[in-house]
Subunit: 374 residues, 2 copies
């Protein structure tokens, strides 16, 4: 640790740590895939919510991005991003904020899947992608829904039809590269079928946008697709490791915590990271291996086999041996620093106002603010 670094023992726990080397490796990995697949990567920054990270994705060009809130759009536009997709179905009442950003030179596009939204965006002069339902998990129209053409014509009549987009969120519950490849093809098929239906009706469909972190990594061929979206690939997390999109060694985020006590008879180690720090996300509960509220690592970030945060209160976590593990429970005196790998990076990062940037076993080499809200 060089003299400019802050030791981890100077941080108030719980604290959010971000391993920059791992993050950059994750970023480079998907950049390379997008290039190989011949599509534009449009990173989804709902996970990162940081302009320090937005300037590191996509080759550091302040290029096209995806956001989940207008607050993100405003922050990232102020940081220099000009091409932004707001990928949550537009509430008509939010259009004045969209118009304000567009007036400031931000090419902000919205998404929609129904006629009232299409009428509102045409009236507001805001371009839109039509959301396509590829896997039944959320919103969007089926590619063969007659309403697709009706909405396409409405948008095109107002000069506001940009294309189509889909997201196979169901891919998060599929394990293994083969299944992710299958879901990537489900996304691609739905998107290009919808684009084809619009084109057959005499409409243009320049943008064909697909993606999720599992399908982005699993896709074999994206012919007909123009752009790829993914968010959690930047950090990865236990849910992604649980479906084999990455390994535990790829996880760039962790929560630093302090041992504050023991309930020895129960095999409990008490820590000061509860659900307020880890979030209530229990995404691995439905996976092959339930990781509780997170996997325990030592202060340097090395995974401690079979040790998880078994339960959590608001500001208390309880470390236990994984069910079935032989033990014994390691001895961690009061004051010991540990790192916890989170189930879901989007949810855990949202509990903090900044990233403490580290590299491997370094101290804190930088502090990057995060924003939140809507």
């Amino acid at each position: 640790m060089n003299a400019d670094q802050t030791g981890l023992d100077k941080l108030t726990t719980p604290a959010l740590l971000l391993d920059q080397q791992k993050m950059m490796r994750n970023i480079t990995r998907l950049d390379a895939r997008a290039q190989a697949l011949g599509v534009t990567l449009r990173p989804h920054l709902k996970t990162a919510k940081s302009t320090e990270i937005s300037k590191r994705v996509g080759g550091g060009t302040r290029g096209p991005i995806t956001v989940s809130t207008l607050a993100e759009a405003e922050e990232f536009h102020a940081a220099g991003h000009k091409d932004i997709l707001y990928a949550v179905g537009i509430a008509p009442r939010k259009l004045p904020r969209v118009q304000a950003l567009r007036t400031q030179g931000c090419d902000l596009t919205v998404i929609l899947d129904n006629v009232p939204q299409a009428q509102a965006v045409v009236e507001a002069g805001v371009p839109a992608l039509i959301e396509i339902n590829s896997d039944g998990h959320r919103g969007g129209l089926q590619p063969d829904d007659p309403e697709l053409i009706e909405i396409g014509q409405l948008l095109a009549g107002g000069g506001m039809l940009r294309g189509v987009m889909t997201h196979a969120g169901a891919s998060y519950s599929q394990r293994g590269d083969e299944k992710h490849a299958t879901y990537a093809e489900v996304e691609r098929r739905a998107a290009i079928d919808a684009a084809q239906a619009l084109r057959a009706a005499g409409l243009t469909c320049p943008i064909v946008s697909v993606g999720s972190t599992p399908t982005a990594h699993g896709a074999r061929d994206l012919s007909g697709v123009t752009e790829l979206r993914a968010g959690v690939y930047v950090f990865f997390d236990l849910v992604m490791a649980g479906i084999d999109v990455c390994t535990l060694d790829d996880l760039a985020l962790s929560v630093l915590t302090t041992v504050i006590g023991h309930q020895t008879a129960k095999g409990w180690i008490m820590i000061d990271a509860g659900w307020m720090a880890m979030s209530r996300d229990r995404g691995t509960a439905v996976q092959d291996v339930d990781q509780g509220y997170g996997v325990v690592c030592d202060e340097q970030g090395r995974v401690i086999s079979d040790l998880i945060v078994g339960s959590a209160n608001q500001e208390h976590g309880v470390i236990t041996l994984r069910p079935g593990a032989a033990g014994p429970l390691p001895v961690f005196p009061v004051g010991t620093l540990l790192r916890i790998l989170p189930n879901h990076a989007c949810a855990t990062a949202a509990q903090f106002d900044h990233y403490n940037v580290v590299e491997g076993e370094s101290g804190v080499i930088d502090v990057w603010p995060r924003f939140r809200g809507w």
Copy 2:
């Protein structure tokens, strides 16, 4: 709605609403109970995290409070609170911040349950309560643990022994006043037994502190107890309603959301409040009635029977009929405003930076900031 108020349709959804009348009714209810029981109420402000609310609890006296983080202690001390209990086992590395507050005139007390912590607080000159384990759910010593006396002597030797405290967190999984009364007695018994053990060893134990929202409302007799702690009683939530501590009509917090689409064939109404707004807390999942991610109300806050947020993504919620409900699904056009009652007020409120204060069907009559972090 008078001219000074902002209509709910002017808010960016999702937005956090706080019904001030309901909150004040909840506050008054527990104030009256504490008075009847002859104990001091020390509200736990980990739920509220607002100095506007801290001045409304406990008779508006800026009286004794409980906190879950040192950030809360600092904020509430700056707002005029002098008597603060930090009720998470102290990490020795945090003592300099405690000392700094004490130097500024804040009578900040910490809690602990082991010898290394006791040694550290004596060295730092910080007074402490010893945490007692009344129901096996978290930290603390059994009242008959010999270590209690050892720690008591250590603290008393340094002039830092203030007393004992316990919290029957297991009461949250018990339904009905009878059971809460039983757990209140479990808390009282453990705390007064521990106090008695300390006194029998020649030590003083001026403070005997107990409480949780269910036990505070269920307690029949608190003889020997000096103070009562509770937090979520200020707002209440679906988890508290599910164990009959309150009714749905008492819930002071809700999340305002907008309908953004429909998947009619599936019986889904899509809204712009996902888990980022509601939190991932699914506390009612283990109760008699699983409320999903929340109970749906109309814009005015009237509960819509059998309608819940059945699932959630980061910024999307899916409203469905409750399993088994006959239907039909109500018709809510795109743009309709709804309110969602949360499972867990502490977790949902933490997702927002401010409360939009309303009264019944009023518009927004005030905006109160919240803080967070550690």
